[in-house]
């Protein structure tokens, strides 16, 4: 599975490789975020799913109608009109829960990807080697290009900058709306992929991502006391 155009010979070393339209991955990555939001509001916040309804979470058909009807009645029963502050806390909790869900899904995917695509490589010497593998090999596998810039303070912090992050390349809203804020959840799954990939290669780390201007994304990796 690769996002680059196939070059003959078609992977003679890898008989299990097959071609998949990169659009399939695009649509999957797009749907992942609203899916996580829906699952979170239905599973973890069943009583407040109406109040935590996200504005960009409106692309589900029958299930949403069903939930609307159901949750509107329950929400009305549980929340008196003066529940505004409660709602705000709920929103933040809900966002955190979505973050956790997406991050752990990415973690699982990252672990699998590394097992599959590092199998023909020699062992990595140090953390920087692993990070380079991540920036070049893994990134081009998942996002079709390399990381544009890698910075490190040589004390376990790595900052990866992608100036044209693939999930953001077509992201756009009408002028004046908060595109950057709405883009944030789309970074959580990739964060999980990075963390999972590092974990599979023996590096435990925390990964944070931010977006300042579309379509660029910045990932910060903080490794946690790597054992010798």
């Amino acid at each position: 599975m690769s996002l680059s155009p196939p070059m003959p010979p078609f992977n003679s070393t890898d008989p299990t490789a097959s071609f998949l339209s990169s659009s399939a991955l695009d649509f999957l990555l797009i749907e992942l975020v609203p899916l996580a939001q829906r699952v979170t509001s239905q599973r973890d916040f069943p009583s407040s799913s109406a109040t935590t309804q996200n504005p960009d979470n409106n692309n589900d058909g029958a299930s949403s109608h069903h939930r609307h009807r159901k949750s509107n009645s329950t929400a009305a029963a549980h929340h008196p009109p003066a529940a505004d502050s409660l709602k705000k806390i709920d929103d933040e909790e809900h966002l955190d829960a979505v973050h956790l869900r997406l991050e752990s899904q990415g973690y699982r995917v990252g672990q699998g990807l590394v097992e599959r695509f590092s199998r023909d490589r020699p062992r990595f010497n140090d953390t920087l080697d692993v990070i380079k593998f991540l920036c070049k090999d893994l990134w081009s596998l998942v996002f079709g290009k390399n990381i544009d810039n890698l910075k490190t303070n040589h004390r376990g912090v790595y900052v990866l900058t992608d100036n044209a992050f693939r999930p953001f390349s077509r992201m756009s809203t009408e002028t004046g709306s908060q595109a950057v804020l709405r883009a944030q959840p789309f970074l959580w799954f990739p964060c999980g992929i990075i963390r999972g990939a590092l974990a599979a290669l023996g590096i435990s780390a925390t990964v944070q991502a931010e977006v300042n201007e579309l379509p660029a994304a910045i990932f910060q990796i903080k490794t946690i006391a790597a054992k010798p």
Partner: protein, 145 residues
């Protein structure tokens, strides 16, 4: 060649996008179309009826492509997913079917369908009028004029 206006209708026959380039033109030559929203409904009614009539007369494979009046030419393109693209140009322009197809695959699919922040259904035009789509369309049309 002058492009006067451009419409997109979704599969629920709702007009999800309108753009007009008439401001730059001399008002005498442009067809008289006010900025009211009734225009979109009238345009849709016209192309819908014409398409049905064409199919009835010419069989299911026959496609309505364009019609021309003394003032303007209307170009029509319908995608397999029941999306309808309509463009009004001056009477002298050649077939715009290709152009409408290009708008569909290069702008609509890329910046609306594959846009993570655009909803699947564009009720009231939600998600269609995003910056990338607007910019791409304007550049494309102005590049032809």
């Amino acid at each position: 060649m002058v492009v006067y206006s451009f419409y997109i209708f979704d599969r629920h026959t709702e007009c999800v996008y309108v753009k007009s380039w008439m401001a730059a033109d001399s008002p005498g030559a442009a067809p008289v179309l006010s900025a009211s929203s009734d225009d979109a409904k009238l345009v849709f009614g016209t192309v819908f009826s014409l398409r049905n009539m064409v199919r009835k007369l010419g069989g299911d494979d026959d496609a309505f492509i364009s019609y021309r009046t003394g003032q303007y030419k209307l170009h029509f393109y319908e995608t397999p997913a029941n999306l309808r693209f309509v463009m009004l140009t001056d009477t002298g322009s050649a077939s715009m079917r290709n152009v409408l197809h290009q708008i569909y695959i290069n702008l609509w699919v890329e910046y609306v369908v594959k846009n993570p922040l655009a909803p699947v259904e564009h009720k009231g035009g939600a998600g269609v009028n995003n910056e990338l789509f607007e910019l791409g369309l304007d550049q494309f049309i102005r590049g032809m004029m």
